[in-house]
């Protein structure tokens, strides 16, 4: 019936999950706008976006709770678009965990197998395995209201994994946990995924979570994917301003292209008050408007003017600074009035004089650190 | 495998089924009766079984007459009855508010354990037969009843006062019966209210009474509106209270409708009376539903 046992075999097929032109309209509101995507078997794929971007609707369409307005969904080569949730080889871990309050931990975890009418003995042994996996052996007879947040999360995970789904959908899996627990659980989740080799699709609004967990990330906004790529690609080479802003902090300089040779462009930026250089493989012509974007940690800060000729160098004063222990954040005001954010590791303890408010400083970066954003 | 066929049908169509069953019931037993009232209200009374002219005569022509409504509008008795029903219901509502507000306030500010008990004691009479609770007042307000006996024993009066069969008795009955309906929504809003707000107002220089009118009252208004409507709407069509406690001249609309139907057997006129009563209630009912919709929105 459900055929939820993971079939072995060709693991590298990039089309294990294929979404084609998927849209969902609620009356006049377009929640998901013609999205296409392929996910390989065994990936830990994150859909990242702010609230209302359509990520949860997309997940609910994968689970079968929402019927797509247009488009198809294929899982392992089978078109599941018209299948109800109870016939899909997919299970979901809900944001609220949705643990049945009137059942014990054990019967919560075993619910899915009971619905498949598996023999009692097999249900028993598989529930034991799951309890082992999520380390809840001692809690099997507890009711959900006697569990901590972290334990509830693990019950939800075990319950969703016990049917060995082809795909596990996780809706904000860590949002309800406090910060300490979240970090720990993150790694536990990755370890479990690695062991079971089940494809995970995680929906999250937390960019740090997406960065650490995922093999790939899709950044979503207004029902569309802005960028799909590995965490590194998305962070280092954001394809547009939205992605750059959404993931981490970034400084941008509005500029006009004045020259372009061998993948190196030269731009003129009123905000920077000088010419800047950057590398790009995008087709860009002189006269185009672009933004030059720089992560705060890619910028060096010093009190003397650095002398590397290739680098870009700008002069400013320390407008504001914040000490965070392992690193410090500076807001540098250029002579043009533009504020640039710079972060620096606090490697030494006190050998050097720390920068103070209104100190005159130089900021510099290597041209390959700059990202060219076309809008 | 008929059983699985049935199950399959239910699983496929469960949404349609849970809508269809109650929907059909309501269409037949709630909406259809209104259509019939409307139809009969424009019929002529005849001495027959049932005692009104059919909607279509033998030749299939529609028979409708506004006679019943014109009669209602021109006959002074009915105008007075409607007016009296509205004013009595409104006055009883104000009385309920005056008594109920301080009570709801007191309950909402009591400690948790006491509060539950007090609340229970408000709800309890609701579960006891309405009729018997009205009846209890007959024993109290009788000429030889508890109140008169007590006052005579005290020496306040030496002749029994006429308490029953006057508007006074109807007011007592209405306030007594509908007070819980006022207190419960008031309590719900007052209990939700943050006490720090009043303290903040007083901290900023408001006296307790000023703080009440500046903070407590405006915040309690949704509860006040809901409570007033919950009292006013049923009070206006009340039948038992005016019948048992009011005098024969206490012509309130519920009683007139009842008599028109059962005593005079004028079904068309009774239907017209009902429709006019319903029209009177449309505005308060819509207000109530809107306030309840807002309340469920807040709760979710």
């Amino acid at each position: 019936m459900n055929g939820q046992a993971a079939s072995n075999g060709d693991s590298a097929s990039p089309d294990f999950i294929r979404i084609e032109n998927l849209s969902k309209h609620f009356d006049d509101f377009v929640a998901v706008d013609s999205v296409s995507l392929s996910i390989a078997r065994g990936e830990l794929f994150s859909i990242l976006g702010g609230s209302g971007c359509g990520k949860t609707t997309l997940l609910r369409m994968l689970a079968g709770f929402e019927v797509p307005t247009t488009g198809r969904i294929f899982i392992d080569g089978i078109d599941v678009t018209d299948l109800p949730p109870y016939e899909r080889p997919v299970n979901m871990m809900f944001q609220s965990y949705a643990i049945f309050p009137h059942m014990t931990v054990e019967s919560n975890i075993g619910y899915g197998l009971r619905k498949d009418r598996l023999p009692k003995s097999e249900i028993g042994s598989r529930v034991d395995q799951m309890l082992e996996l999520v380390k809840l052996n001692d809690f099997r007879h507890r009711k959900p209201d006697q569990l901590s947040g972290g334990q509830r999360q693990r019950v939800a995970l075990a319950r969703a994994l016990i049917k060995r789904p082809k795909v596990l959908l996780l809706d904000e899996p860590l949002a309800a946990l406090d910060r300490k627990l979240r970090e720990h659980t993150q790694f536990e989740l990755m370890a479990i995924q690695d062991r079971l080799k089940i494809t995970f699709i995680v929906v999250t609004h937390d960019q740090e979570e997406a960065m650490t967990l995922s093999t790939r990330i899709a950044v979503m906004e207004q029902g569309r994917f802005e960028q799909v790529g590995t965490p590194k690609q998305v962070y280092e080479y954001p394809c547009n301003r939205f992605v750059a802003d959404f993931i981490g902090t970034i400084n941008t300089f509005e500029s006009r292209v004045v020259g372009c040779t061998d993948g190196v462009i030269e731009v003129e930026s009123a905000e920077a008050g000088s010419h800047l250089h950057a590398l790009t493989d995008k087709p860009i012509a002189s006269g185009d408007s672009v933004s030059i974007a720089l992560r705060p940690e890619k910028i060096f800060i010093s009190q003397e003017r650095p002398d590397a000729a290739e680098d870009t160098c700008l002069h400013g004063i320390v407008e504001d600074l914040g000490y965070f222990g392992n690193l410090s954040l500076y807001r540098i005001r250029l002579s043009t009035g533009k504020i640039v954010q710079v972060s620096a590791q606090n490697r030494r303890r006190s050998a050097e004089r720390f920068l103070e408010w209104n100190d005159e400083v130089w900021i510099s970066w290597q041209r390959q650190s700059a990202v060219v954003l076309t809008e | 495998m008929t059983e699985s066929a049935v199950k399959q049908f239910v699983n496929r169509n469960w949404q349609r089924l849970i809508v269809a069953v109650p929907y059909l019931w309501l269409l037949v037993f709630f909406l259809a009766p209104f259509a019939i009232i409307l139809k009969i209200s424009v019929a002529d009374p005849v001495i027959a079984q049932p005692p009104f002219t059919p909607a279509f005569d033998e030749t299939g022509r529609l028979q409708a007459t506004w006679d019943n409504f014109t009669f209602l509008l021109t006959d002074k008795l009915y105008a007075i009855t409607y007016l009296k029903s509205v004013t009595m219901a409104a006055s009883a509502t104000v009385l309920c508010l005056l008594i109920g507000f301080p009570m709801a306030y007191g309950i909402a500010r009591a400690s948790a354990g006491v509060r539950n008990l007090l609340l229970l004691l408000i709800i309890l009479p609701f579960w006891i037969s309405f009729l018997l609770r009205v009846y209890a007042w007959m024993g109290l307000m009788n000429n030889y009843g508890v109140i008169n006996n007590f006052l005579i024993w005290l020496g306040v009066i030496d002749q029994p006062m006429q308490l029953m069969y006057r508007d006074f008795a109807i007011y007592v009955g209405l306030v007594y019966s509908y007070l819980p309906f006022m207190i419960l929504p008031l309590y719900a809003t007052l209990e939700r209210m943050d006490l720090d707000l009043v303290d903040a107002a007083m901290d900023l220089g408001a006296s307790p009474s000023v703080a009440f009118f500046d903070v407590t009252w405006p915040l309690a208004r949704p509860g006040v509106v809901a409570g007033c409507l919950l009292v006013f709407i049923p009070a206006i069509g009340e039948y038992v209270i005016p019948y048992l406690l009011g005098g024969p001249e206490a012509l309130l609309i519920g009683r007139v409708l009842f008599d028109e139907f059962f005593v005079n057997r004028d079904w068309p006129l009774a239907s017209a009376v009902a429709i006019v009563l319903l029209l009177l209630l449309v505005v308060p009912i819509v207000l109530l539903q809107r306030s309840q919709a807002r309340d469920t929105e807040l709760a979710s």
């Binding site: 809900f94 | 199950k7 469960w14 809508v19 500010r109 400690s111 007959m138 024993g139 009843g145 009902a274």
Partner: protein, 270 residues
């Protein structure tokens, strides 16, 4: 605890006295030996005994109970379905009409509900010959129609407070809709259904006006019997009957209160 003003305290004292003195006086006078209900003639329980020998009262009470149990059960089924429809089926044709119809009986004057249903039954009898006689069935239908609205409201608020992903999770794990209803939804809304049933039961036992309209000759419910007696004034046997009702109901409500207060927390509050 916040300090409460003397005004609020005296309002509470007055209010509760207002609510409970009449009930207390009924109970007190039910033990009055005198036939004149308000003149004290010594302690006696004879009116309770007479009540037991009164066939009219017993018949009426039995009819009322039958109607109350049947209509409360029907109303719970229909009202629960209606509550589910309102919360879980977000869009269907005629939804506005449906939600208006389901809540209207709550605010409809009893005289109108009674009159309209009687006219329906008369018309039906003319058209299809049913109901041939008015009595148990017509009163039950009438009570079901207005009390299902109360059940629907109670169930609806319970469902709205319940996390919908519980049902989705069950469906996601392979539960078909009917199974999910039985496994998850009903166990979780069961307290609301029970409360709704009790409410419907009480409303049915309590109703005079609607039953007076839709009943036929020979079928008197308990309120109809009491009404016909009290129209003529205060009588000691009605005092006894009223006392029994007051004591039973109070005991039931207090018991329910104690049980729910002591018992384990309600499930599904997340």
């Amino acid at each position: 605890m916040k300090r409460r003003s003397a005004f609020v305290l005296s309002a509470l004292a007055f209010g509760y006295a207002f609510l409970y003195v009449p009930l207390a006086s009924v109970i007190f006078y039910s033990f009055n030996d005198s036939r004149l209900a308000t003149v004290w003639g010594g302690f006696s329980t004879r009116w309770y005994g007479e009540l037991w020998g009164n066939d009219q009262v017993l018949d009426a009470a039995f009819l009322s109970l039958r109607i109350a149990v049947t209509s409360a059960t029907l109303a719970t089924v229909l009202g629960t379905l209606a509550g589910l429809a309102l919360v879980r089926v977000t869009r269907f044709r005629g939804r506005t009409l449906f939600s208006a119809m389901i809540t209207s009986p709550l605010v409809m004057p009893e005289v109108i509900t009674g009159l309209s249903l009687l006219l329906l039954f008369v018309s039906l009898q003319q058209l299809v010959g049913w109901p041939a006689q008015r009595g148990f069935s017509t009163i039950t239908i009438a009570h079901t129609t207005f009390s299902m609205a109360y059940v629907a409201v109670v169930v609806r608020s319970r469902l709205a407070a319940m996390d919908q992903s519980l049902e989705e999770a069950a469906m996601d794990l392979g539960g078909r809709p009917l199974r999910v209803l039985v496994d998850i939804t009903l166990p979780l809304i069961y307290p609301a259904m029970l409360a709704g049933w009790l409410l419907a039961f009480t409303l049915s036992l309590d109703d005079l006006v609607i039953a007076s309209f839709v009943s036929g000759p020979g079928s008197n419910t308990l309120p109809m019997y009491i009404f016909s007696k009290v129209k003529l004034g205060v009588t000691p046997d009605i005092n006894a009957l009223a006392s029994l009702v007051i004591l039973f109901v109070s005991a039931g409500v207090l018991l329910a209160w104690l049980v729910t207060r002591r018992g384990p927390g309600q499930p599904g509050r997340t």
